[in-house]
Amino acid sequence: MEAINKIKAHIMSGLNDLIQAKERGIKIIGYLPGGYFPEELAIAAGAMPVCMIRGGNHACVEASIAYIDRWLDTFYRAQIGSGVSGTDPYYNIIDVLIAPITDSNNRALSDTLDYHTDIDIFPFGVPHKKEESGYLYYLHGLKRVKIKLEQLTGVEITKERLKEAILLCNKERELLKKISLMRKTETVPITSKDFVMINHAAMIIDKKVLIRYLESLIQELQEADSVNSKGPRLLLTGSTLAMGDGKILDLIEEAGGKVVIEEFAEGIKFYWQNVKTTGDPIEALAQAYFTDRIVPAWFRPAGERLNHLVQLAKDFSVDGVIWYQLMYRESYKIESYYFPEILEKETGLSMLTLESDYDPSEIGQMRTRIETYLESIRG
């Protein structure tokens, strides 16, 4: 598909775009994934947001050993490895790193980069409970981020500018949702690999450009044939699906499976709901990004997410669920123990749990387990 190819090409040239933007005096706002930094704030400040979502490289994990113990989430260790070693050009180009602090893993990243590098780190806390006091604290954090970005860019983030940015990001969310929902039917016009790729694109490339591509893509998809229509339909969920960590999707595809819906805290955007365009825009952002969105596993409690997964499994008529998480992400590991019982009770479906440390030697074992699981589904 032409639009897909264009998005891929744009991702490849993303770094050059950022370099050129920086040469024009535009500030580059790096942020940690997880969906708690509203890109709208960076856009309204006239800056370019870029998510630090690259992962999957075991060499980066190995590079982290000098700075952090191995008992932390693989993705964040990889970020530490690439960030501190200076080998990731994205870490070298950003003017600030906005770090929504969600759990111990990204706190370790924020602290370690702060200590070992000259990167300007700006942490702000994300409470772990959806209560009024939690909402207020998150809102306070967004206001701090707003001031930081205004100081950095010299641009006042007015209500008008913010509302304009919200409209832009709403458009992107609507298009992602529209594409995703196309997979509810028996005819699935887009592979999960491509859908994940456009999600990653939405975290690193210019929104206006991406929106143009997504509109073209929807037109192409409406006329496209189904991809791999015979394989079992799958829900793929977990902690992080980083850009560059494609082996899970490759293995499922090679085994004849078909992922029709994904749910990840990091790596898949929360595109199900828009930000309200009425009222105070920063409060609307806090409402949408904190209160309205489905919580990740590190909320206490996080049953809302498990209910959401059950609903997705039903809505997308899946035949099975694959839980793909990275090593030592404790919140997800604990949930992966008791969710299969809920899933079985609510839907009659089984679940396969896979874990990765970005180690290439995992592939053989992972392939066998996926093939066996799909075989068991096919009956």
Binding site: Y67, I68, D69, W71, L72, I101, D103, S104, N105, R107, A108, D111, T112, D114, Y115, I121, F122, P123, F124, G125, V126, P127, H128, K129, E131, S133, G134, L136, Y137, H140, G141, A297, W298, R300, P301, A302, M327, Y328, E330, S331, K333, I334, E335, Y337, Y338
Partner: protein, 474 residues
Amino acid sequence: MAYYHELLKLCAFDETEIVSQKERIERTFQILELGPADMEKAVARIQKYFDTRLMGVRKAIGVWFKELFDLILCRYEGKKIIYYGYPPFQYIGLAIKAAAKSKNDFYVGCPEAIVSQTLGQFFHKLVPVLEAGEGAGLPPGHAMCSLLQVKVGALEKGIIPIPDLSIATSYFCDMGPKADELMQYKYGYPVEYIDSCLDSPWGLWPEYDHETVRYLGAQLDKLFCTLKNMFGIEINDYVWQQGRLIAGRLYKAINKLTRYLTADPVPLGVADSELILNFPIGCTGSVMDEGAEAIEILADEIGKRVQKGIGVVSKGSPRVLIVLQSISDPAVNRLIEDVGLAVPTTMALLPPPPEPESYPFSTLGEKRAEKAMFGGAYHSTYGMVKRIEASLKYAHVDGIIYNYPFSCRPFVCSNKLTKLHIEKETGLPTLLLDMDPQDERNYSQGSMRTRLEAFAEMLKQEKLRHKKSDIKSL
């Protein structure tokens, strides 16, 4: 004579206690599946690893048994049960006790600390509990906190009762509240999560964002509402102070003892000093009176050792600060002295640095939250590191053994930064030593000894070098 008689006598129980508590003692041991062979093993273990010449040590062990009986039997004895997570918000358990009409109405404590201490330290029977925890959602091979495995395993095995309320310490680590969520799913007990965000930037401590205090304060105030709604107990400023007073005698005794520990030669071993570490952290019952009495006796005994110049290692041995002791394995606690190092203090016993002036927060929750921020660990990694650095001024040590639980994420997040920062700011050599305070399957004593020996040798050479240069300068 009862099969547990010798053990309890060794632990300073008197005859009348053993007789009057017979039913409770036997029921507890029955629930824990501890028989005559276990009693013999415990006697041998206590005699081998603890200094039972000291009455204070024997009494302290006895207090742990009493706390164990109270925990295991609290449901049968009709008490309302409240568990709190580890590490607890300071004084929260005691405030609940102080607020209750009768302190016997409630059992309040940290069960995993008590089970680890008793089944691990004295009976060497913690592994089956850990295995139960592994099988119930905290599997091996994933760096799951072994303290939580003990809690989950003990619930799974039915050796500790299902609580009426669990207070989860959601502000310090992620695994604790998640384990409570898992147990809530399995057993349906309510959990109150005290949440906060450790989001203060590097370099901010001792300053803090007032909103962070307000958020944690709101969470504590909500807990107080829950306690009122569920149990009819009201926690206010007065009650909080009463809670602190309950622990007054205990802390006074600990302070007296810790002053003696700083003598040269250090008069008490690491395994023995461990006995008091979790008294104020894990328990709110017998510890407050009988535990305080045990430490008072121990302090008097140790005071005499100091006067006579008696120590567990020779005078002039290198002195090290350790983070914590194993709460289940006295053998590993003894290793540090075996290699010739003296331990005059631990992280938990370090005096707090002077607090800056308080901000006039209005609610009790906010006032308590502000205190927690000064403590460092609930502020940020930087707060914790600076708190350690500030306290080291009073420690007079030659080095630090930063022995941290490898599966404790707050430690894992910060240990390498802590080493770098402390070595740079204080010049004290720091050994990072990963350990597991609850699960001896996760380390080898042999390799730990090798690392300690090398560190000890380096400190000894360093001391010798200083001595020689002092002689030259004379």
